[in-house]
């Protein structure tokens, strides 16, 4: 449940890199571009150079095989700076769906471009108001694919979309669709946290332009990929929560009122201490989930649901408290803390709210 020396070294390198190259101001700067511009391509090119797309890719496919603990540590560092990049959308989501659901030939077709940074892909699963992977309406009918998807991360810059859909046979599948194919309509947007996503409408997209992933167990692979992605998102959230708490403790140590540092007040100390307890508790659940992925744990879905639910609750608590404890400054755009608040609510809805994961956990445990 701890990083090995290589993983720790990569984490330190990446932490330094994000600190220098991707401060929160870089996220804010994206607003001056149109909504399809959801990350800075130059930043992503440097991240590719660091090898980040290859972290969990098996060596057989020219990956680093550094494991999910390793990737989780990188995601945490990204979370600290609210980094906007296709790491989650293209690498952890789309590329990972490819690895889990694709045939060897398909992996060999699509993976090199994703690893080299020449292409990025988006992953489309959500259709309704909430994350609900069991209800997929987008379906193939009479040689064409129609329907809509929503909350497709970084879809504005993606050249491929990995789209969860029902095949004509009724089976659940993943369709690889070029984003410029006829009948594909993409509407890029930003969430309030400035991260980019978009909706996707498919109007009778011809089946000939679609490549269905055809690995040995697409449905199982998809479930596995979603667990993996969810664990990494939870890790990213923990990085953001940790940063928000640290900024708050620092602020309370500097700000003076009533002739003393605010941080000397026991009422505030207890709230910070409580947050820290919640932080390390959730962090432990996330570490257990990442470690479970590396170890091939059989109860991985339970570990992942615990991790996401606790990460949701923890980041929600810490970001809300952080705004409150920053006082008036907390509700100004001058401070970054408000972005952490917004980010937490966006992350809550991505890949399952706490309600979703508590329900799933209960089902998995037979109650």
């Amino acid at each position: 449940m701890i990083l090995n020396a290589e993983q720790a070294m990569l984490r330190d390198t990446v932490a330094q890199f994000f600190q220098e190259r991707a401060p929160v101001s870089a996220l804010r700067a994206l607003q001056s571009h149109d909504d399809s511009h959801s990350y800075d391509a130059a930043l992503w090119a440097e991240m590719v150079e660091l090898g980040l797309p290859a972290i969990t890719v098996p060596e057989a496919f020219d990956g680093l095989d550094f494991g999910w603990m390793g990737l989780g540590a990188i995601a945490q560092e990204a979370g600290r700076h609210l980094v906007a990049s296709p790491l989650l959308s293209s690498v952890v989501m789309a590329q990972n769906v490819l690895l889990n659901c694709g045939s060897t030939a398909q992996i060999e077709t699509y993976l090199p471009g994703l690893l080299s940074g020449e292409a990025t892909a988006a992953f489309a699963i959500d259709e309704g108001r909430y994350f609900d992977p069991e209800t997929i309406g987008l379906a193939e009918e009479a040689g064409a694919l129609s329907g809509h998807k929503t909350r497709v991360l970084d879809v504005g810059l993606a050249s491929l979309v990995f789209c969860v859909a029902r095949k004509a046979s009724g089976a659940l599948g993943v369709a690889v669709i070029p984003s410029n194919a006829d009948g594909v309509e993409i509407s890029p947007k930003r969430f309030m946290d400035l991260h980019g996503h978009g909706s996707l409408v498919l109007n009778s997209v011809n089946s000939d332009t679609i490549d269905w992933l055809e690995g040995p167990d697409v449905e199982g692979g998809l479930a596995r990929a979603i667990d993996q992605v969810t664990a990494v998102l939870a890790a990213e959230m923990m990085g953001s929560a940790r940063e928000a708490l640290e900024q708050t403790v620092t602020y309370l140590g500097e700000r003076e009122q009533f002739d003393v540092k605010l941080g000397t007040f026991q009422a505030l100390q207890h709230r910070c201490a409580q947050m820290y307890c919640e932080l390390e508790l959730a962090e432990s659940a996330v570490a257990a989930a990442l470690n479970g992925l590396d170890q091939g744990a059989r109860n991985i879905s339970m570990l992942v649901s615990s991790a996401k639910a606790l990460a949701n609750d923890c980041f929600t608590l810490i970001s809300s408290e952080a705004v409150q404890l920053h006082g008036g400054m907390g509700v100004t755009e001058e401070m970054d803390i408000g972005l952490f608040l917004k980010r937490s609510r966006v992350c809550n809805q991505l890949l399952g709210s706490s309600s979703y994961h508590r329900d799933r956990f209960a089902r998995l445990n037979g109650f």
Partner: protein
């Protein structure tokens, strides 16, 4: 390699020994009334319990890691781990319960002199003396260093006057280890000494304190001109704080060695919830809110274990984050109480009495446990004190009054 083969030989030997010496009845989950406590007035709950205790005593397995010369087993840490694993595997009950084993002994091994070790450790291992702890006082709870029980230097002995509260099971104990004030020097911690007192001495009296659980685990002990020989001072005069800290370190370590130390509830939470609330055709609990809250609790309970694992692996890799252990007490005790509240919600009417004979005994025990467990966030450092410690030591927040 040879270490490993020696250990596996030891494991085999232990497995055979346990099979031969641990009676079937002593391999059942422990029930509180059948715990084996030592002491001058000890009474074994059964012949089997007596046989099991004596077999362990004679091999030093009541205190496996203590030196054999003091009645311990003289086992290495690895061997002791093997023993505990094998005992857990068979479900063996602990052969002896005693605060002397868990708390005083480890501190005596560090701070006691040869005489003290010979006399007290041996009596603890052999279950001859039962110990109580005398730390808190009516006016010194969280502020322990403010204790007033005084030990006056009278040449060949100390004269002790004062009172100790929350002395767990002191009404059944033979000796008590106490923190006493031996000087008024500042800081207050600097005038405290660690004293061993025979509770049969003239002037010692104890009365149980009735608790909201209907039981009286805790007592108050009074000292009225009690003469205590100088030989009973552990460590330096005025140096008792260091001994007390050493003792705290070991407090729960030894207990953690046995999974089966505490009585298990009649039903686990989920079983209880299915029994009391019922479930629909999909097996989901009928009370959706309770179901969600149970999920959350189980996740947090599991995460606590995972936090413990993180601490363990960090330690093994010599990368310990010193902040993490500070969180365990507060998180663990508050989660235990959260579970009790879920039990109470599930129990409904059956949770509203501790002594209604129409309610199954096992369920009433759960209700008593709920009430008793309110002490978890108070005893051994309140949650508020824990949060103070976390704010200062883990988060580095400034002390009050200093800016």
């Amino acid at each position: 390699m040879s270490d490993q083969s020696e250990l596996s030989a030891f494991r085999e030997e232990i497995a055979v020994w346990l099979r031969d010496n641990c009676p079937e009845s002593q391999r059942q989950p422990i029930v509180r009334e059948q715990q084996i406590w030592g002491g001058r007035r000890r009474q074994f709950p059964s012949e089997d319990a007596k046989a099991w205790f004596e077999a362990c005593r004679d091999r030093g397995f009541t205190a496996p890691e203590w030196p054999a010369e003091y009645g311990g087993g003289g086992l290495s840490a690895e061997q002791a781990k093997v023993l505990s694993q094998e005992m857990n595997r068979l479900g063996c009950r602990p052969p002896l319960y005693c605060q002397g084993l868990w708390m005083l002994g480890p501190a005596l091994l560090v701070y006691g002199n040869e005489e003290q070790k010979k006399q007290h450790l041996t009596a603890i291992c052999r279950g001859e003396i039962r110990w109580a702890q005398g730390y808190s006082e009516p006016s010194a709870g969280s502020d322990l260093a403010n204790l007033k029980t005084k030990a006056e230097d009278c040449g060949d002995h100390f004269l002790v006057n004062g009172t100790k509260i929350w002395t767990t099971k002191a009404d059944e104990a033979d000796w008590i280890f106490c923190l006493v004030r031996t000087s008024d020097s500042t800081p207050k911690q600097a005038g405290i000494s660690f004293l061993l007192i025979d509770m049969a001495s003239d002037g010692v009296s104890t009365s149980p304190i009735p608790l909201i659980s209907g039981e009286s685990e805790f007592c108050q002990t009074f000292f009225d001109n009690v003469k205590v020989p100088k030989a009973n001072l552990v460590g330096e005069l005025d140096g008792g704080w260091a001994v007390a800290k050493e003792l705290l370190k070991h407090e729960r370590k030894m207990m953690a060695a046995f999974e089966g130390m505490l009585e298990k509830p009649a039903m686990e939470l989920l079983e209880l919830a299915h029994y009391a609330v019922g479930s629909d055709e999909n097996g989901c609990l009928k009370d959706a809110e309770l179901r969600s809250d149970i999920s959350q609790h189980l996740m947090r309970e599991k995460a606590l274990g995972q936090l413990g694992e993180r601490i363990y692996w960090q330690g093994k890799a010599k990368q310990s984050d010193p902040r993490l252990p500070l969180l365990m007490k507060h998180l663990g005790t508050s989660e235990a109480q959260a579970k009790d509240e879920l039990i109470m919600r599930a129990l409904g009417e059956e949770g509203l009495s501790m002594d209604d004979p129409t309610v199954p005994h096992g369920l009433r025990k759960m209700v008593k446990q709920w009430a008793f467990n309110k002490s978890l966030t108070i005893a051994g450092g309140t949650s508020e004190v824990q949060l103070n410690i976390i704010a200062k030591r883990a988060l580095g927040m400034p002390s009050e009054g200093k800016s």
